[in-house]
Structure formats: C-alpha cells, structure tokens
C-alpha cells in the first residue's frame, strides 16, 4: 500500500490528536500572519499620516535662528544644487522626498485694487528622486512652470481666472496663471504663493539659491532625526536639520512597539506550539509502536517510517499554515479596521507571506516531529511485536 494513503488513513483515524496538532499550526500561523499584517498596516498608516501632514524634516543653513525661521523672517540661503548632491549621495538614505525651497517674505504685494499686502513666496524645486534608493511616488509639491498655487487668503484678493501678478526686483512685472487655489486651513500657506523655484528665483533675483530643504524623515530604527543629522552633516557641514514633531511619531512608536511585541510573541507562540506538537507526535509514536513495528517486520525501511511520520507533520503543517494565513488575514482585517483609520481599506491579505507560510510551517512542524520520528525508527520491533 502506498505510504501516503496509509498516512492519510491514520491521520483520519486518530482525529483528535490530528486536530490538536492542526490547531497548534493554525494558532501559530494565525498569530504570525495577523501580527505581520497588522505591522505592515501600521507601517502604511505611519507613512500615510506622514504624507498627509507633509514633509517633516527641515534642512537649513547652520546658525539660522529658528525664531526667524519659523516666523518667516528671511533666513540665510545656500545653493539649490545641494539638493542634487544629497540625492546623488550613496550614504544619504535617512531622508526621502527632498524638496528644495526658497521661502521669502514679500511685504509689498499689490492686489488688483492696488492695495498692498504682506505675503509669503515659496519656490519649489522639482522633488529630487534619490539615485541609489528605490523610486517612490512624488509627494506632489512640484509647481509647473508658468503657474502658481495661491493660498486661500491670497485667493480672496484675486478674481477668478485672473492671473497672479508680481513685481520683480529687476523692475519687471511678472504674470502667472493660477494653477490651483488652495483650501484654507493650511497655516502659513494660506497667505502664500507657490512658484516653480527657477521662476521665483528670477522674480527675486536670487538665481541658484534656496533657504531650506523640506524632506520626509525615514522610519529609522535608531531614530529619524539623529540619523538624518549625521548623514546631512557628513556631506554638508554648513547645514543642519530640525524636525517638526508629529502624530506620525506616535504612530511610529506604536509600530515599533508592535514589532517589539511581535518579535517576542511570534517566536513564543511558535515555540510553544512546536513543543506541544513534538509531545503529541511522541505520544502518537508510542501509541503506534506496534503498527510501526509491524511495518518494519514487513520489510519497510527506517527511511519509510521516518518519511511517514514527517509526511504527516508536513500535511498538518501545510493545512494549518494555509488555514492560519486566511484566519490571520481576517483577524488583521477585522481588528485593523478599528485601529488604523486611514489605511483600513487597504488592509488586505499579504500574499507575499502566503508563500512563506506554506513553506515555513510544514518545515517547522516536520522539525518538531523529527525526534519522535527518529525514535520510531529505533523501535525494538521484535520486543514490541512479542508483547502480549
């Protein structure tokens, strides 16, 4: 008889023991998949929040008085090609979405009625893609040439379809199409006008200059800001980095905590389940000692016996792994929706771990049955079959 058929029949006959072993795989697999999926969801949530709230790191000239910086007093400038140098650097990976900005207070802008207002001008250099890091979606701060994006307070002073007109330092008047009227509630941007960097530099006569780089800090194990500072200053010692604290930090802490707990819980549960399985297989081998003895008496080799026990572990590991994957994904989806509001709909089964699941769990469960299987091959056939 085919050993596989024999294994299947035995598995079905000793249902309770098989179900308990299957249950241990399902528990281990479910917990692993659920924690992994939730951890991924948490990571996505963190990214999403960071993207929603904007770039969270500022890089500016060393020695800048932060009071001036935050109150939009004009601060020192540096060459805009610094952005490209950073983007080209192999060692610079703690920061993404590098956006060079020239941010200048413009105290005497005249609206169409001739009234003068103080506004803030932002010139955005095209977002730099880091050469040695995987490409990412742009965060959307690029402004097309010939257009401007105007804040809600500025927009109140410009008629619909009318262009934005500004006097340049060269005495010329510059006119830009209004590409976007931003909604209110964007803080400093409400009284600002965003340009393509080169055009603003021309208006202000500040060719090749910017006064800050905004960027998105990485999700770094050893601290975003410390890492970013170290890397930036290794390249440009005349720059420094500061961070806007954010709720992303809270999310990031949550994610780190989840990973920390996951790093403990997953091995703990898997090892516990493996030990239970090992004991169940040991018990199974003891119960089946006469059957195993008979198979050996009938000329089945130790390898066949070993194979039969390991194959049983493989089947249960595979079945439990698959069930656990779907159950774990469901658990993650069910609870994840409560926890991660922004990315709730994107919590889906992580198919990449499905393939790991169907390999890892059968292998682990075969390993847990390895010692009982070896003991089975060493059963004293003559003794066991002669016992009354």
């Amino acid at each position: 008889m085919n050993p596989l058929k024999l294994v299947t029949k035995e598995l079905l006959y000793r249902r309770i023991s098989s179900i308990i072993i299957l249950f241990t795989v399902v528990v281990a697999s479910t917990v692993t998949v659920a924690i992994y999926t939730l951890s991924k969801a948490s990571e996505n949530e963190t990214r999403k929040i960071m993207r929603e709230q904007g770039l969270n790191l500022y890089i500016f000239p060393k020695g800048t008085n932060l009071i001036d910086f935050y109150s939009i007093n004009n601060t020192g400038t540096f060459p805009d090609n610094y952005v490209d140098v950073l983007a080209e650097s192999k060692t610079f990976d703690a920061v993404r979405h590098l956006t060079g900005i020239l941010q200048i207070k413009y105290p005497d802008w005249k609206d169409s009625n001739g009234s003068t207002h103080q506004i803030v001008l932002f010139g955005y250099k095209d977002e730099a893609q880091q050469k040695y890091l995987p490409a990412q979606e742009l965060m959307g701060f690029d402004v097309k040439k010939g257009t401007v994006q105007i804040g809600s307070l500025v927009a109140k002073n410009i008629k619909p379809d009318a262009p934005f007109i500004i006097d340049g330092t060269d005495g010329k008047q510059y006119s830009f199409k209004v590409g976007k009227r931003l909604e209110e509630g964007r803080g400093m941007m409400d009284q600002g006008v965003s340009f393509n960097l080169e055009e603003l530099q021309q208006v202000l006569g500040m060719q090749g200059k910017i006064n800050k780089i905004e960027a998105l800090g990485c999700v770094c194990k050893d601290g975003r800001i410390r890492n970013a500072r170290k890397q930036v200053q290794a390249i440009f010692s005349d720059l420094e980095v500061t961070e806007i604290s954010s709720i992303a930090d809270a999310r990031e802490n949550q994610r780190v905590m989840m990973n920390k707990y996951g790093a403990f819980i997953i091995p703990f549960i898997i090892i516990s389940c493996l030990l239970i399985t090992g004991l169940l297989f040991y018990q199974n081998v003891n119960v089946r000692s006469r059957e195993i003895g008979l198979l050996k008496a009938m000329g089945n080799s130790s390898y066949t016996i070993l194979f039969m026990i390991l194959f049983k572990a493989f089947i249960l590991g595979l079945a439990g792994g698959i069930i656990g994957f779907f159950l774990g994904s469901w658990v993650a989806e069910y609870f994840g929706k409560e926890i991660f509001m922004f990315t709730a709909l994107s919590i889906k089964p992580v198919w990449s771990i499905f393939y790991y699941t169907i390999v890892i769990f059968p292998v682990l469960w075969m390993l847990s049955s390895w010692i009982p299987a070896l003991l089975a091959t060493r059963i004293d056939t003559a003794k066991i079959l002669s016992q009354e």
Binding site: M1, K9, E10, E291, A297, G299, S301, A382, L385, S386
Partner: protein
C-alpha cells in the same frame, strides 16, 4: 535454504545477563514445517525473530541461500523480510484504521500479488468481511486476516509466533489447517508455540530448553 549456525543471544539488563539462545544450530529446508516448542522463556520467540532478521544475534550466523542476513546492509535485511519472510504474531497486529482488505494489501509489494487476495479471502471465509475494520472482527477472523497478510506476498518462509495463543480450540484448528494448507502447497513454515499440540502438523520438531536445543 536457511542455515542457523551457532546462534547465541544474551540479553543484558544492568549487570544481569540472560542467555536466550546458546549455540543453536539447525537447517531449514524448502518445504519444511518446523515446530519450535518449549516452556516460556526458552528462547522460542528470540529464535524466530532472529531467523526473521529482527534480532541481531551476539554470535553465530543466519545464512539465507548462503549469505549471512546480518552481515548485509540494513536495506538488504529489510528486503529479506519484505520478500522472503511472512510474519504472524499472537497479537495479530492489524492496523486498526485499515479494512481487512487494506490490511492484507499492506503486505503486497508487487501488483500481481493483489490477484490472489480474493482467493485467500474466500479460503479463509473472509470475503464478506473484507470491508470491515479489525474492531468489527472476532479474534479468529483477525488471526485469519493476519495469516493472509503473512502469506499474500508468497514468502519463502512463514514465521508464526504463537499464532493460536489467543484463539479458542475451534479457531486454532481452522488456523492450523490453513497453515498446513500453505505448507502442503510448498510453503516453508517455522511455528513457535509453547503448546505441543499445535505442533501436530509439523514434520520437524525442535524443543528449546533454556536457549539450547534439547
């Protein structure tokens, strides 16, 4: 066919030693029906299992067609048991999760051996029970199933260890006549029993006394 030469087997437990077989020698020829009798602990089962390739003797040789079965690689010993030996035990040792038919098929290692299953089922009055599980059988039916399983692959030797030990006189008689039938058709039988009456069909009798041929 089988030469048993100066077989000695000593069991050790701590410092205590028990000599199960001591310099046992005899030959088994094709078509022999050898009954090995003796009191409990005389070494009958040890002898049978040694012939069957299950107990490695401490000294001596078991030669099957001229080669020592214990001086070969373990896969050859496995092969020897599979192709040349049929075992029957007092406890039947049927797989509880297999039907009568599947228990018998367990011993078939070649397809053509399945052809004679129905014939033996008929002969042993088990045709109507072939889809039953061991738990649904009487002890006599269980032992007859074990008998078919032992001979279905047409082994050179049937090694039976107290095959009637658990049977009533009626079932014992049926089983012994089946074994005799196997012998009459050219089979070689080595049957171990503490009951001298069981040996009535045997053409050779070996009496073991404390591990020695008496």
């Amino acid at each position: 066919m089988i030469e048993i030469k100066n077989i000695t087997k000593i069991y050790k437990k701590g410092t205590a030693e028990f000599t199960a077989l001591e310099n046992v020698s005899f030959n088994i020829e094709k078509g022999d029906y050898v009954a090995v009798t003796g009191a409990s602990g005389a070494g009958k089962s040890t002898l049978l299992n040694t012939i069957g390739g299950l107990i490695h003797p401490d000294s001596g040789e078991i030669l099957y067609n001229g080669s020592d079965i214990y001086k070969q690689a373990s896969r050859h010993t496995d092969e020897y048991r599979k192709k040349h030996i049929g075992f029957m035990f007092q406890q039947f040792h049927l797989m509880p999760y297999l039907t009568v038919l599947d228990n018998i098929k367990l011993a078939c290692y070649e397809k053509h051996q399945l052809d004679s299953v129905d014939h033996y089922l008929e002969k042993c009055s088990l045709t109507g029970l072939k889809n039953k599980y061991p738990s649904e059988l009487s002890v006599g039916e269980k032992q007859r199933t074990a008998f078919i399983r032992a001979i279905i692959s047409n082994p050179d030797i049937l090694l039976a260890d107290e095959p009637t030990g658990n049977l009533d006189p009626g079932n014992s008689s049926i089983l012994l006549s089946l074994v005799e039938d196997f012998h009459q058709n050219g089979g070689t039988v080595v049957l171990v029993s503490h009951d001298p009456l069981t040996a009535k069909y045997a053409n050779r009798k070996i009496v073991l006394e404390r591990g020695k041929i008496g």
